[in-house]
């Protein structure tokens, strides 16, 4: 707090304001401490324990869960699965939605209808989305093989299955990204383009020199939240890929492993170690994303 402000308010006033401020933040801070801060500490503790059946008789086993984790061949595979999903899903989804947003950002008929349709997956329960796609992907009775006259093992061939999951991920996020980007595009003043046109920059040229830089804060926001979201992938592979399929190994994400160990196999301690590990990975990635921010994001 600087000197100027101190002079402006009397100390009692300041105290009163501070009191009110504490009251205002209290529900949120207390809530966060109970709901989030304490769980982080507890999970951290659990990750050093072997949990008994039904969560009873936890015994401290030191670093064993972490040692197991680094020996577990499923972990590197899960990391690969998660990263390649994130890479494909985020890039394709953003590229496509950018194209869509640019195409829709003009005076023409039907913009509202397109927007409404592309946004539709956002309001659907993920379970419903996963079910209908699983059914469409079915090798024997699904509409995709019927439509194309093929006999592709969409969800059971490891080479294809993870791409199918990514396709569903892209399909689900396209509308959301498009709406955000459209919002960003509409904030760009028209005279920028007019000025550029005088300088002879039109079309593709204007897109890269005006649109992208001015859209960069929105793009950055979408990329960052998109990557973090994609790294937490769980619902889609869990519901689309059958457990008795060899493809399950190529789609099992880190969160999927966490869920399996914690809730299906009753190994909460190991599950906690997985999620702590994941937290570290996501923090590192977030750190690097933040570092790139200054290089290409232009805030006005």
């Amino acid at each position: 707090m600087n000197q100027k402000k101190k002079r402006m308010f009397s100390t009692t006033r300041q105290k009163k304001v501070a009191q009110t401020a504490y009251l205002m933040v209290a529900p949120t801070i207390i809530g966060l401490l109970i709901l989030n801060f304490y769980p982080i500490i507890q999970t951290f503790w659990l990750s050093f324990c072997k949990t008994g059946d039904f969560g009873l008789n936890n015994t401290f086993i030191g670093l064993k869960n972490y040692v197991d984790l680094f020996k577990d061949p499923e972990i590197p595979q899960a990391l690969i699965n998660t990263f390649r999903y994130a890479a494909v899903q985020v890039t394709v989804s953003i590229a496509l939605s950018l194209v869509l947003a640019v195409l829709v950002n003009r005076k023409m008929k039907g913009v509202t209808i397109y927007r409404t349709i592309y946004f539709l997956p956002m309001i659907c329960a993920p379970a419903a989305i996963a079910m209908v796609w699983r059914w469409m992907f079915n090798q024997d009775f699904g509409i995709l093989n019927k439509m194309f006259g093929t006999n592709i093992s969409w969800t059971t061939d490891p080479k294809i299955a993870w791409l199918c999951v990514a396709v569903v991920g892209i399909w689900s996020s396209l509308g959301y990204n498009m709406v955000l980007l459209l919002g960003g595009l509409q904030d760009i003043p028209k005279d920028y383009y007019e000025a550029a046109e005088i300088d002879g920059a039109t079309g593709i040229n204007a897109f890269f020199h005006i649109t992208i830089p001015l859209l960069s804060p929105t793009l950055f926001f979408i990329i960052q939240t998109g990557i973090i979201g994609a790294l937490q992938l769980f619902d889609l592979p869990y519901m689309i890929i059958d457990e008795s399929s060899r493809a399950v190994r190529s789609v099992k994400s880190v969160t999927y492993l966490f869920y399996q160990h914690s809730f299906e196999k009753g190994q909460r301690g190991y599950g906690s170690a997985i999620v702590i590990f994941m937290m570290v990975v996501i923090s590192i990635i977030t750190y690097f994303i933040q570092k790139t921010e200054k290089k290409w994001v232009h805030y006005n």
Binding site: I29, L35, R115, A128, I143, L174, V179, M239, I282
Partner: protein, 279 residues
């Protein structure tokens, strides 16, 4: 080629592209509806392949699923959870966001870092401890359990901090001279100005509450206590490969939200869009 002709051609190409995309977006929904009205043997018939239900449309899939799941309860539960979460989130986040955005007090930085930490950490980390809290308090299968993780929101607090900060100082200074207390300034002058942020947070919270599957699956395992998303996840197992009934269930689960969305689509989309420019 003249300028207008070129423009028209351009816009036709664009429309074709957008329409093809729209069809691709809609196919899953269409297939969901078509399958829901078939019999099981039509759905798994290889030869001939039925695109439309043969003969009549079979509404009994809906009644079968409706009867084995108490959909009215599920709708009610989901709605209650959505409303409670939105109310809690907006109440706590506006207050905290205002304090962080516009008031000066010792320890502000440290307290705000608690908010930031929550946003950085993957949400899965909270599930087991939160679950243990609920189960130790014997609150499993209650509405409170379903609302519990959403009572406060770090995302919302951040959103409102940004949004209060962007408002001009003069507004409040005038009110202060008139002798308004901090609470009065917050409730009557500043909060109404953040309407668009309230709409954004409301939509995000409601959508999240509606879509969240893992939490309700874990804390509410009784059919009368759970939400649509979690019940739907079980449906697939229950009806095995009876695809028409699965699709009928999925359709019934998304229908209420779909109707709400189609009515309020403008507010929906603008609410989402405005959040992007704030963060």
């Amino acid at each position: 080629m003249g300028y207008t002709a070129k423009r028209r051609l351009n816009s036709t190409v664009i429309h074709v592209f957008l329409i093809l995309g729209a069809i691709a977006m809609l196919i899953p929904f269409v297939w969901m509806v078509l399958t829901a009205f078939k019999t099981k043997s039509q759905a798994i018939s290889v030869d001939p392949f039925y695109i439309f239900p043969a003969g009549k449309w079979h509404f009994e899939n809906f009644s079968e699923v409706w009867n084995s799941y108490n959909f009215m309860t599920l709708y009610a539960n989901t709605l209650i959870v959505m409303v409670l979460r939105v109310v809690c989130a907006v109440l706590t986040a506006t207050m905290a966001g205002y304090a962080f955005g516009r008031l000066e007090f010792p320890g502000k930085g440290i307290l705000f870092s608690i908010v930031l930490i929550q946003m950085m950490v993957p949400s899965q980390i909270f599930i087991i401890p939160q679950y243990l809290m609920i189960s130790k308090a014997h609150l499993l299968n209650t509405k409170f359990a379903l609302v519990f993780p959403g009572i406060v929101t770090a995302f919302g607090t951040y959103l409102f901090k940004q949004s209060f900060q962007s408002l001009p100082k003069e507004l409040e200074e005038a009110a202060e001279i008139d002798g308004c207390t901090v609470w009065q300034r917050f409730a009557f002058i500043m909060m109404p100005l953040t309407r668009s942020a309230i709409v954004s947070l409301g939509i995000f919270t409601a959508l999240f509450a509606y879509k969240d599957m893992m939490w309700p699956m874990i804390v509410a395992n009784k059919p009368a206590a759970t939400t649509l998303s979690a019940a739907l996840a079980k449906l697939q197992g229950q009806f095995g490969s009876n695809y028409p009934q699965i699709m009928a269930g999925a359709l019934m689960a998304i229908l209420p939200m779909l109707i709400l969305y189609l009515i309020f689509q403008k507010q929906f989309i603008e609410g989402i869009a405005s959040s992007g420019t704030k963060l």
